[in-house]
Symmetry: C2
Subunit: 417 residues, 2 copies
């Protein structure tokens, strides 16, 4: 017997038929003798419908901060409905279940409405229910602040809800049901020989999540890692479910063989900015990145080239593609302050990354990457590395070629397509 949290996203509960399918998945776990808490999103499309109503209703309101509390009160109803309907569908097939809104648990949050953080979860009522073999169906994405107002966690927050609840009730595992059947070595739509990983470490999953693999939210993986909670990413579309389906996200010690590279990811939402002939003096980088930070613009890869002159340098960095125009604007406005001669940029770039906990113990990981790309004539524009990741910025038109080349170079290709 295990205590499990099962999390279902919006596409998994998009219709009553899908909710009834989810109910059967839950019943399978109950029949296997497990204690189950379910965390559920709003039916797909419902959150967008509610946001559109909010946008219409608040038209013309200058006070955005005040609105967020009402936004939360309205939008959080989507999950409340999802939880109630799933509880009904469970009851209908003979499974004792009840719904819980965030405030009923309660899931306590700070009061940053629309993007709140969970401060704590009262677990006693949930555990009392589980001890009576009652499935707890909990509305995700929400909690209640110190003033008793409903707060939402922001998009993707249901994953975080699920992990936080799993930690609070001492669950053995948190199963994230989604529309893919696990974590892949690369995007299978591009790399046909990509294969599903049975296990991946928290650290690798964190890098892959932050590098553009959309399956899990970074915050949810962090929370699981800090608390040593095993996650399983599994498809909600398989029936009957196989306990061996999906990918376990767990501690690296629980992975028998650490591959040099576990996955290859990419992000097209990148743009490169070059500042030419910047004065090479202490504090100039602080000025440049301070100006961007003030505008809320995140800078990712940074390279400071040595130039021929000893008093000048070239500065290259990447920002999100959607931030590029604004970045250029503020940098041009500060040209005198920074003291560069020219600014160039390129939005047609992609960041390709290889991620693997095995890099720590294997040497030559970077060399394989650089050689493989060079063999295909792919020019590397910027490089950045962490302990378990190497990222390169390349011309966007080489995306697919680079991914397939690296997938082969690191021996990740599946035997059969």
């Amino acid at each position: 017997m295990a205590r499990l949290v099962m999390k279902f996203g919006g596409t998994s509960v998009a219709s009553i038929e899908r909710i009834q399918h989810v109910a059967r998945l839950v019943k399978t776990e109950i029949t296997a003798g497990n204690e189950i808490a379910v965390v559920v999103s709003a039916m797909a499309g419902e959150t967008d419908r509610l946001i559109a109503l909010v946008d219409e209703a608040k038209a013309g309101n200058p006070d955005v901060n005040l609105d967020r509390r009402e936004y939360d009160a309205v939008v959080a109803t989507g999950e409340q409905v999802g939880a109630g309907l799933l509880a009904l569908a469970l009851n209908a097939i003979g499974v004792d279940a009840r719904s819980w809104s965030g405030w009923q648990v309660p899931i306590k949050t700070d009061n940053v409405h629309g993007a709140a953080r969970i401060l704590g979860i009262e677990n006693q009522a949930l555990i009392d229910g589980l001890n009576k073999n009652q499935v707890a169906v909990i509305a995700g994405f929400q909690g209640v602040d110190e003033f008793g107002r409903i707060a939402t966690l922001g998009r993707g927050g249901t994953d975080t809800s699920a992990v936080a609840i799993a930690v609070a009730i001492g669950a053995d595992r948190c199963d994230i049901y989604t529309d893919v059947d696990g974590i892949y070595t690369a995007d299978p739509r591009i790399v046909q020989r990509a294969h599903k990983l049975d296990r991946i470490s928290y650290e690798e999953m964190l890098e892959m999540a932050s590098l553009g693999a959309k399956v899990l939210q970074t915050r949810c993986v962090e929370l699981a890692m800090v608390n040593g909670l095993v996650l399983r990413v599994v498809s909600s579309f398989n029936e009957p479910p196989d306990p061996n389906d999906g990918t376990l996200v767990c501690d690296e010690d629980d992975i028998l063989e650490n591959l040099m590279v576990s996955g290859i990811t990419y992000s097209r939402d990148e743009a490169r900015v070059n500042l030419l002939q910047v004065k090479d003096q202490p504090g100039v980088a602080a000025i440049i990145f301070g100006i961007l930070a003030q505008q809320g613009i995140n800078v990712d890869m940074i390279v400071q080239n040595v130039s021929r002159s000893s008093t000048q340098t070239n500065m290259t960095f990447t920002v999100r593609e959607s931030d590029l125009d604004r970045s250029i604007e503020v940098l041009k406005a500060s040209q005198n302050k920074i003291g560069y001669t020219d600014l160039t940029s390129d939005a047609n770039v992609v960041k390709v990354s290889v991620v693997g906990i095995g890099m720590r113990s294997h040497t030559g990981t970077a060399q394989i990457m650089f050689q493989a790309l060079a063999d295909k004539g792919i020019n590397i524009q910027v490089i950045s590395t962490s302990e378990i990741k190497i990222s390169v910025l390349i011309d966007e038109e080489y995306t697919e070629l680079a991914l397939r080349t690296l997938h082969s170079a690191y021996g990740l290709d599946a035997a059969e397509v």
Copy 2:
């Protein structure tokens, strides 16, 4: 300055445009210096959409009682959305406002889910908000039971929410905004010369509500009467609103001139049952109406005719038309127990009633009714009376003729059509 509760039903908040119109009505009262709490329904159609989802999700569930709690959790979201959107629309036109769900106030109810009664309302938080000139926008139709589960008050419960809140915060008046502009002497679709009443007593309104006038729920009028709270029924479709619009529902002492008859109502949802040659002995009525009560069938008008035989009597009574088939079924199954010789019934009947607090002090009210109907050749099948009401059962095809005839006979016709 007055403290007012303004209640808006589903058609008054059916769209964002309608919600913005309601926000302007509220602002008018605020600008006039009043303190305002608003009680709001779900957007028209939303409750039905949610009920349809519940019905689909619980398909096949034998345990109806358990479902009601989840039904409530799902359906109550409609009002939560309505309250949030109205608060946003008020903010957008510069009126400080916040939404309150039933559990946030809290509005405490018993745990008869789906048809809960309000047990008490914590008024302090609401009053604190009003003292800060913040409009309280409260989700109607809902509260929270002793176990922290959401409970709904049943259809029409938003009227009851509004009156209970008005009592709890010591409001000077509760304005029920609806799609008609007040209480009429008769249904204006049938009686062209019907006119709006400026004032009507609680007792009269109670009789009219229970006799089929759909504007106010009986429970809401009772609650106002017991607490001496003045109600105003007013249209939400007028702009700008006139403080003299609508009909006041108040104590009879506050009505200058009590008419003999204030209103004439009718109900088509009636059916007549006759049991012939029932044994005329003590206890037989208890047997008949006990059998019907056990089946949850309400009996309304009852007449026991004297028959020619001293040992037998004819029993005539009315039930709701929708209960007629079931009534006949259970009465036939108990024919031996009751001991009647024949059962006849007629669903083509209508109950027409005249209501007036003035009946207490005027004599001859019934005589006017009987004479006026006789003059038109309308046969009276059953009569029942209360202190301020006379009802007659007649053939349904005379409905319009009877209403117009009585409206004239009691001097209610407006001077101009």
